[in-house]
């Protein structure tokens, strides 16, 4: 949606929440809100009703740049056969334990 569109809808926001035991914010869904502060409050009401989260991020959907699914082959297949990028050729002594 272009910034100049005369839509009467509030902007769309993507919501990310982190759970109490979690280390990362995960995408929880989206909602419409007039501004960032309201987006945060609405996210709290819509996406954390059942104790799902202790931290919320909201981002305007238009601010998210996502990779094109059609580019999947070009972007991600080449790393499939470059085993030298993985640190799996070391002999780790037992005393070191799990790494």
């Amino acid at each position: 949606m272009s910034p100049n569109s005369k839509s009467r809808e509030w902007p769309l926001w993507e919501v990310f929440t982190r759970s109490k035991a979690g280390m990362h914010h995960r995408h929880a869904g989206s909602l419409r809100a007039p501004d960032a502060e309201m987006a945060l409050q609405n996210a709290r009401d819509v996406y954390t009703r059942r104790g799902e989260g202790v931290s919320i991020w909201v981002v305007k959907s238009v601010d998210i740049t996502a990779s094109d699914p059609d580019d999947k082959g070009m972007l991600f297949d080449p790393s499939d056969d470059k085993i030298y990028r993985h640190p799996t050729f070391y002999d780790i002594p037992d005393e070191v334990g799990h790494m």
């Binding site: 909602l31 007039p34 409050q41």
Partner: protein, 252 residues
């Protein structure tokens, strides 16, 4: 403190919560946007939860076998002790937010003070409720600001909304013998003393919204102290209580 006064004091708190919770529940499925439908019904659930705790506690203190359901469903208008502000109809979204905001700011002050109540159970209820009320106050205040400082239409509606309910706010700070007895016993709150904090907070939000304090000269009271309610409470109770009255002792 005598039991009758103690119970009466608790009912005044519980009735505010249940009546306002019920009013907000009337928005379910009808709000202007989905997100606010969920927001308002969340607030309703918070308030109803507070009412349940307060009623149960009142019933125990009273010791006559009344539980939360008996207190909620079997009293008629003259026995209700909510303030007049919360029974006012929902109107439009601006009306609802104006009513909510003016009440939330007061409720926050009241429950902050109640966390120090000599009635330990009440203090515990207050501590839990205060977190919910903090959020209610933020949300309703933010809407007053957005509607006041919004479009010409939203501003006009918010001004009209505040004008319609401002006259019900004096009642929030008036104390009768029951309030004074509760205060003397260390259980209650000095309502008169809360007024400056309320005026400051409301004034700051109105200023941010670009709104004037309403110059309303009428003021009514008698709901929370005498059960002399506006014409709206009867209809509200008729809906709230119909099932229990029509099918006594029914349960889900």
């Amino acid at each position: 403190m005598n039991t009758e006064h103690h119970v009466e004091f608790l009912l005044r708190l519980g009735d505010n919560s249940l009546v306002l919770g019920h009013r907000l529940s009337e928005w379910c499925g009808h709000a202007p946007v989905l997100e606010e439908d969920i927001a308002m019904t969340n607030v309703a659930l918070d308030l109803i939860g507070q009412a349940r705790m307060l009623y149960s506690h009142a019933g125990e203190i009273e010791g006559k076998g009344r539980d939360e359901d008996a207190i909620a469903y079997l009293r008629d208008v003259l026995d209700w002790r909510n303030c007049l502000l919360v029974e006012q109809p929902n109107g439009d979204f601006a009306d609802t937010m104006a009513r909510q905001f003016l009440f939330d700011v007061w409720n926050f002050e009241v429950f902050s003070a109640l966390t120090k109540s000599a009635d330990e159970q009440l203090a515990a209820i207050a501590a839990k409720a205060l977190k919910e009320i903090s959020y209610h106050r933020r949300h309703s205040g933010d809407w007053v600001i957005r509607l006041g400082d919004g479009t010409d239409e939203s501003r006009a509606k918010m001004i009209a909304a505040l004008d319609r309910v401002w006259g019900f706010t004096d009642e929030l700070f008036q104390m009768d013998d029951v309030d004074k007895a509760a205060l003397a016993a260390g259980i209650g709150v000095d309502l008169e003393a809360l007024r400056p904090a309320w005026e400051n907070y409301v004034g700051a939000v109105l200023a941010e919204a670009g709104l004037e304090k309403p110059s309303v000269t009428w003021s009514v009271k008698g709901g929370r102290t005498k059960g002399h309610h506006s014409e709206h409470l009867g209809f509200l109770l008729a809906e709230l209580q119909f099932m229990q009255r029509a099918y006594p002792n029914s349960s889900w």
